[in-house]
Symmetry: C2
Subunit: 150 residues, 2 copies
DNA sequence: ACATTGACGTTATATTGTATCAATCTTGTT
DNA sequence: AACAAGATTGATACAATATAACGTCAATGT
């Protein structure tokens, strides 16, 4: 994944929405783009300090993550309390239900695109229960290809 | 939902599996069965104290929850860090993928049974990504029927 | 220039969860 | 009954995650 391209896209995106991708916000996004695995807010604070030789309060990291999540640039994994850059930042297609395959062994996460007809069927099944989905996000735990063979 | 019947079933269940549903574990399960909403571990500790006029350490609550989850009697909602009794304790059919519709307004949770062919398709889509699911659990946030109209 | 707003810092505190070791209770066996 | 072994629970400490409240400063528009 091309970090630079993603950052460009993110900046463009923020401009369009009339919000600011400040240097610190950008750094946090960069850190997540360069991370192989999802990171906790405190881990991000550590990485920030390593990378920029400057301390950052966890409180600030949470605020920046909140911003990035609002802009759809970052996702939070509720099941692990960690954060990761949206892997579709550079895509043109509109974002829908994010779906994550989380490897419980090596922690890598695959943000997949489940067949949209499947999602539609799922949503139908849900609306049959008279329920109105807000932002569906599927987090599925298991083992990735590499970890299955070990 | 009939608490007593569920407790009976749970006891039977534990007997079959050669594990013990101790009085405290039973109390924790009762508390969840009688709760309208999912509860955090610390909330359960408070309810326990109210109900039994006896303090219980949070650590113990966590252990009892762990036990109850292992027995499939309780679920943990990863997205909210709360616990709830499985609403299918008294059912005879085998338990599969638990799926929760969580109302973000009133906190009620509906444990639904999504069409099994749908789940099968979802799992197919996942195995197409060379991923091996461990215990799929879907947590879907939104608004329940009652809260949509308000 | 001035007021307003947003971004960020600072501190404190709440909430959720785990590690560790001691005490107690069960159970099976002798 | 007496004992050993294991499971259960208590007690204490602490780690990890998250939010609240308030202050400062800079950017922005009027």
């Amino acid at each position: 994944m091309d970090t630079e391209k993603a950052i460009d896209k993110a900046e463009h995106n923020c401009l369009e929405h009339g919000v600011k991708l400040t240097p610190k916000r950008k750094s946090v996004l960069e850190i997540l783009l360069e991370s192989k695995h999802p990171q906790s807010a405190y881990e991000i604070a550590d990485l920030y300090q390593q990378k920029l030789a400057e301390k950052i309060p966890a409180m600030s990291v949470y605020r920046m993550l909140e911003f990035l999540i609002e802009q759809g640039l970052v996702h939070k994994l509720a099941s692990t309390n960690k954060f990761l850059a949206c892997s579709h930042i550079t895509c043109t297609h509109s974002h829908k239900t994010p779906q994550f395959l989380i490897c419980d062994n090596c922690q890598t996460v695959n943000e997949i695109g489940i067949d949209s007809s499947l999602i539609a069927a799922l949503e139908q099944s849900i609306s049959d229960n008279h329920f109105k989905l807000s932002s569906p996000q599927l987090e599925l735990h298991g083992l990735c290809e590499a970890c299955q063979t070990n």
